[in-house]
């Protein structure tokens, strides 16, 4: 499998720059966005294996961004990584459809593993969807 493509969304520029450098050292392809709006635009242009999303950002907040990302692509794997780690926030994010929820700072090994799992999960979901689509065509055509 080729290296996973990751979108890192956080308004703390120093954080996104440093973490993306570390992830690139681990052979991941990393894009960054400093706002929810920018993240949605980038997700519309690229197919990301995983989106790593902060919850507290200026303008469109993380939960709103999460909803929009999933509305645009139901298979999108979104890992919430926030400094605002209350139980209610984590429950809310997971209910909306986040894959995982972590508090900052996160161990790079854990994050790399979660990204790897998310990439596999996304691929599985896409393959399942394709298989269903083919089955539907076969049924409709009576083959």
């Amino acid at each position: 499998m080729s290296s996973a493509k990751v979108l890192l969304v956080d308004d703390e520029k120093e954080f996104t720059e440093t973490l993306s450098e570390r992830l690139r050292l681990r052979d991941l392809e990393v894009f960054t966005a400093s706002s929810g709006r920018e993240a949605i635009d980038l997700a519309g242009q690229h197919r990301f294996d995983a989106v790593i999303l902060d919850l507290q950002m200026p303008g469109m907040d993380g939960i709103e961004t999460l909803k929009k990302l999933l509305a645009d692509d139901a298979d999108q794997q979104v890992i919430v990584l926030t400094g605002h780690g209350t139980i209610s926030k984590s429950v809310e994010a997971l209910k909306v459809g986040a894959t995982e929820f972590f508090e900052k700072p996160i161990d790079i090994q854990t994050l790399s593993e979660v990204i790897g799992k998310a990439a596999v999960q996304r691929l599985t979901l896409i393959e399942e969807r394709s298989a269903h689509a083919i089955e539907d065509v076969l049924k409709k055509k009576g083959w």
């Binding site: 703390e12 120093e14 440093t18 973490l19 570390r22 050292l25 950002m57 400094g83 900052k104 700072p105």
Partner: protein, 224 residues
């Protein structure tokens, strides 16, 4: 002049909520700083592991990472200093305060709240060095409550002007800004604030129309 805590600090629930909001906001900022330092340290470790495998770390990279760590430490120290001033503002019910410092203190501690709402908070002070005798904690709480009206009203720009009227007796804080909507509970909140301002020998006045709010907090040094 200092005075011990007295009964005029009513509404203890409001005080706790105010304290909690400021602390929650500041702790979030601290976590951001810790997270950045943690990533910078992690990157240094990554690079040193690569160096052991024969990929040397350029000197300018080490210098740049070291500068970035120092920058985060300075950011944290600035915040700690303001948090300390804020915490000690509750020590005495009356003491000499510098209005510039009080406003700067609240500006620093609420920075993230304003950024999250994409609201610019600007402070101007045409006459520097205004000091007065008042309750430092209550003054901060009332100022924050005034600022909070603009967060509720989805304002994009809020300005605080510190001024001393011509007669020289009273100082004044003017908080103003354009708003998108006037919150439904605006009048109730402002009326409650009027009473709280009176408790620190101040007077709170406001003017509003559909798109603009001006709140004036007039502060007298003479409490008796």
């Amino acid at each position: 002049m200092k005075e011990n805590l007295s009964d005029h600090r009513g509404g203890s629930r409001e005080n706790i909520v105010f304290f909690g909001r400021i602390m929650a906001n500041v702790s979030h900022e601290f976590n951001n700083i810790i997270t950045v330092i943690s990533e910078l340290a992690g990157l240094l470790k990554d690079l040193s592991l690569l160096a052991r495998k024969g990929r040397p770390i350029p000197n300018d990279k080490i210098e740049s990472l070291s500068d970035n760590i120092s920058k985060q430490v300075a950011r944290g120290k600035h915040l700690v200093s303001h948090m300390n001033h804020f915490s000690h503002s509750a020590d005495n019910a009356r003491e000499e305060v510098d209005l510039d410092q009080v406003v700067e203190n609240m500006q620093v501690l609420t920075d993230r709240l304003f950024k999250n709402r994409q609201t610019d908070l600007t402070v101007s002070n045409p006459s520097e060095g205004i000091s007065l005798s008042t309750d430092p904690f209550e003054l901060r709480r009332i100022l924050f409550a005034c600022l909070d009206q603009f967060l509720d009203a989805s304002s994009h720009e809020v300005s605080v002007v510190i001024k001393r009227p011509e007669n020289g007796e009273n100082s004044e804080l003017q908080v103003s800004g354009q708003v998108e909507t006037i919150p439904p509970d605006f009048l109730d909140k402002l009326n409650a604030l009027k009473e709280q301002a009176q408790a620190i020998n101040g007077q709170l006045l406001y003017e509003k129309n559909e798109t603009q709010i001006l709140i004036r907090l007039i502060l007298s040094s003479n409490r008796d």
